[in-house]
């Protein structure tokens, strides 16, 4: 037999216990969610519902716009083809246009060349290493820029990074953990394909004090760069927007006036 006082005590302990079970569930779900967020995004902050929404929205807009661009380019191609089937004069115009597009990087190109793969080192920096040494284990936007510059200097004629064609207005830049090329996000490994003289380009990268040796300065990080010669490389066409909002062509009359 239990006394009234004991019964009272038991009721509240039972109720608290039931609530504890519910709370344990809540706690587990909250913990699991935070862990998943950390793993998925690499972000450790707990407060970013707004950011998540904004990101999702931007991604969606991006997709829609990209589809729009693809649609417009398809249309443009059809118009140009129709033009090419017209009279002799329009055919010449069409061929001129094709050449200009090829030079601008708006058509795919194929030829011999080299493929350079840049990736973050699999080695770990020593834990007590200073921050700037740790940075050397990662591929940065500047590495890609330098590489492209070296390749161009060695005679490369068409270059693409992870399927993004490098054209006159291509920007390569870090934004947080990803690198953006032509406003497309990508991360290590970066496959840089260059059409041009394979021998010249390879030796330009491998010359003493050159690009490859940059990965051996402080430590042997040669696993970050791989160079392969290719008999045939195909780089894709530039697929981004080709609209200029500010720059306008200067007419031939105006140049005469200046003279």
């Amino acid at each position: 037999m239990s006394t009234p006082l004991e019964t009272k005590r038991n009721t509240w302990i039972m109720q608290v216990t039931v609530l504890s079970v519910v709370l344990g569930m809540l706690l587990a779900a909250a913990l699991k969610t935070q862990q998943t967020i950390k793993i998925k995004s690499g972000i450790t902050t707990t407060r970013f519902p707004g950011l998540v929404q904004a990101l999702q929205q931007e991604r969606h807009t991006n997709e829609v716009l990209r589809a729009e661009i693809a649609g417009y380019q398809e249309k443009l191609k059809k118009y140009q083809e129709a033009l090419g089937q017209g009279s002799n004069r329009t055919q010449v115009l069409y061929q001129d246009l094709e050449t200009a597009k090829f030079l601008a990087g708006l058509t795919p190109a194929t030829g011999p060349g080299i493929e350079v793969v840049l990736r973050d080192s699999k080695k770990r920096p020593p834990p007590d290493a200073p921050e700037d040494l740790k940075q050397e284990y990662i591929i940065h936007d500047r590495d890609i820029r330098t590489l492209i510059n070296e390749l161009l200097a060695a005679g490369a004629e068409a270059i693409a990074v992870n399927g993004q064609r490098i054209i006159a207005t291509s920007a390569i830049r870090c934004s947080g953990p990803v690198t953006k090329i032509n406003d497309v996000e990508m991360s290590s490994p970066f496959v840089v394909q260059a059409i041009g003289p394979p021998d010249t380009m390879e030796s330009a990268l491998k010359m003493p004090g050159g690009f490859v040796e940059q990965f051996m300065i402080t430590e042997d990080l040669s696993d970050m760069i791989q160079i392969r010669r290719k008999n045939s490389i195909t780089v894709p066409a530039y697929t981004g927007s080709t609209q200029f909002l500010y720059a306008k062509p200067v007419g031939p009359q105006k140049t005469k006036e200046v003279e």
Partner: protein, 121 residues
């Protein structure tokens, strides 16, 4: 008997933790806030029980209403650009610490009383 709530907490945790249940990303922080409100109610209930003031209607309604209110306020704060989330965390956190210290006090007093009784008896 006294350890039942702790056991319950562990049981509930295990039930949800291993089958990999997650909350949608946008809701995660509100969900954590609700959990915090739940803890506030839980310790409040234990404290009331120790003080012999436990009432199940207050306990249950407190759990649900506090959690909902905290989430609602935090959501409203996000909408109007004021970080009421922090206010809720500070208020609830403060109360949790207060209740925990009171629970510890009652517990220690009870132990001391029991010792005195046994030494006298």
């Amino acid at each position: 008997m006294t350890w039942l709530p702790l056991l319950g907490l562990i049981v509930g945790f295990v039930i949800i933790y291993f089958p990999n249940v997650t909350v949608p990303g946008g809701m995660a922080s509100y969900f954590s806030l609700a959990t915090l409100a739940g803890f506030d109610s839980l310790f409040g209930g234990i404290r009331a029980g120790l003080e012999d003031k436990f009432r199940s209607d207050i306990f249950l309604s407190g759990f649900i209403v506090n959690a909902l209110l905290a989430v609602l306020l935090a959501y409203l704060g996000d909408q109007i650009g004021v970080d009421l989330f922090l206010a809720a965390v500070v208020a609830l956190g403060g109360r949790i610490f207060l209740n925990l210290s009171l629970i510890r006090r009652y517990w220690l007093t009870n132990i001391a009383l029991a010792k005195r009784e046994s030494s006298q008896g």
